[in-house]
Symmetry: C2
Subunit: 255 residues, 2 copies
């Protein structure tokens, strides 16, 4: 049996705020979906138009879930300031009549630009079942888990700007069917995501006090990375390489 | 056994839109809380300041629940246009930084004006348990019942402007501790409530198609009237007449 040395910090001592933030960021460094091979194909110009269509219409399901999960979070919050802050996220995605179309509308500009029928995209009938299960798992997590973990699950936005920049540059350079105007969604997210992520990170660092809460928040970021990754696994299995499209899912008609 | 005559309309035929609207309005005519004796006391100048404080701090619990129930409704909606429309309700209550304080803030201006400590009001510690049970029953209804019924439960707003007008006039006239500026909440609701109610009524009339759905919507308006009435029953029992304040609830210190 190996000898043990006494340590300075008793078991169960919470992480310092810096250690906690580093633990959150380490999840992204290891597991955020910028590392997924499907994104390398997408950004590197290795997909044909039909495969990009499949990605965009599946990712629509995620867009569709985002305002619902953010409203679900707001519905649980008694702190008015937190609600007021979180409301920006719903506004960012759904927009506000009459002038702000919102992120979902911008996503539909992308699917329009890819030649997909808007009603078909919005029906989500062609989406992969695995996509729907993953995004609904997210909505359910936010509705059911302790509030601090629900907030923490949004923190993948810390890692989003670099993937959005890579996507804008890579898709513009590599696909003749992608033009600057259909990428408006990602350009807007370059400013929205850091604002939201900064607020949520400070909230989590301030309010997750015990080590258990901190570890649950780190796990929530891992859960979120898992569900983003699972969506790309499903896309890759169905549409990349030889392709195994499940019954009922979108079948590309163009190359 | 009595003879039966054939009727023109087969059993189970949906109401016409006009009949449906009339059935909804009939619930208000019979059961809306403008008919509650406590409101007659409140508006008629028959309460002392401590009793008005009790009303205002209990009613704060309802204000606190409103944006949460509206966010819960949004969290269930896949129709983006309905979400965008409903979002106004959350904005109306929570406001939006930096310029719009929102209805809850305006309610706190009223409780400030009545001399209540803001932290005590917001803690809801002095509220009657019956108040809390009623407002949480509302939040739960909106979260759990079929969506069309959740929308319908908002339709008491059809009946709100007349009670708000009566309240503004009666309280200003009858209480020297009530000034025009602390009633800003009700003045704003005079324009907000009809806008929201008109939209919700049209939505319900259009989307409740079967007789069962229509009847469930009428019942939802009845449920909402019940929970408004129950709050006033609790106030009346605790604070009007001889008063039976339950343990732990607010005890007025002023007459």
């Amino acid at each position: 049996m190996s000898e043990r040395r006494s340590v300075d910090v008793p078991i169960g001592t919470p992480m310092s705020r810096d250690e906690f933030e580093a633990a959150i960021r380490a999840v992204g460094a290891e597991r955020y979906h910028d590392k997924h091979p499907f994104h390398k194909l997408l950004h590197g110009g290795k997909l044909d138009k039909g495969q990009v269509q499949a990605w965009a219409l599946n990712r629509y399901c995620y867009q569709d879930a985002v305002p619902r999960k953010d409203a679900a979070l707001i519905s649980r919050v008694h702190d008015r300031e937190l609600r007021r802050e979180w409301l920006h996220r719903v506004l960012d995605h759904d927009g506000l009549p009459p002038d702000e179309p919102g992120g979902i509308e911008r996503w539909l500009v992308l699917t329009d630009g890819l030649g997909l029928d808007r009603d078909y995209v919005m029906s989500m009938k062609g989406a992969l079942p695995a996509t729907r299960f993953a995004v609904e798992a997210y909505a359910r997590f936010v509705r059911e888990r302790p509030l601090i973990e629900s907030v923490a699950s949004s923190l993948t936005e810390l890692f989003a700007p670099s993937i959005h920049r890579a996507r804008i540059a890579g898709m513009l350079e590599n696909y003749d069917f992608i033009s600057d105007d259909v990428l408006a969604y990602f350009k807007r997210r370059l400013t929205q995501a850091p604002r939201d992520a900064t607020f949520a990170l400070e909230h989590v660092k301030k309010n997750a006090k015990s080590l258990d809460e901190q570890e649950a928040c780190v796990a929530a970021v891992g859960f979120k990375c898992d569900l983003l990754w699972a969506q790309l696994d499903a896309l890759q299995h169905a549409y990349a390489e030889e392709g195994h499209i499940p019954p009922g899912a979108f079948v590309p008609q163009v190359k």
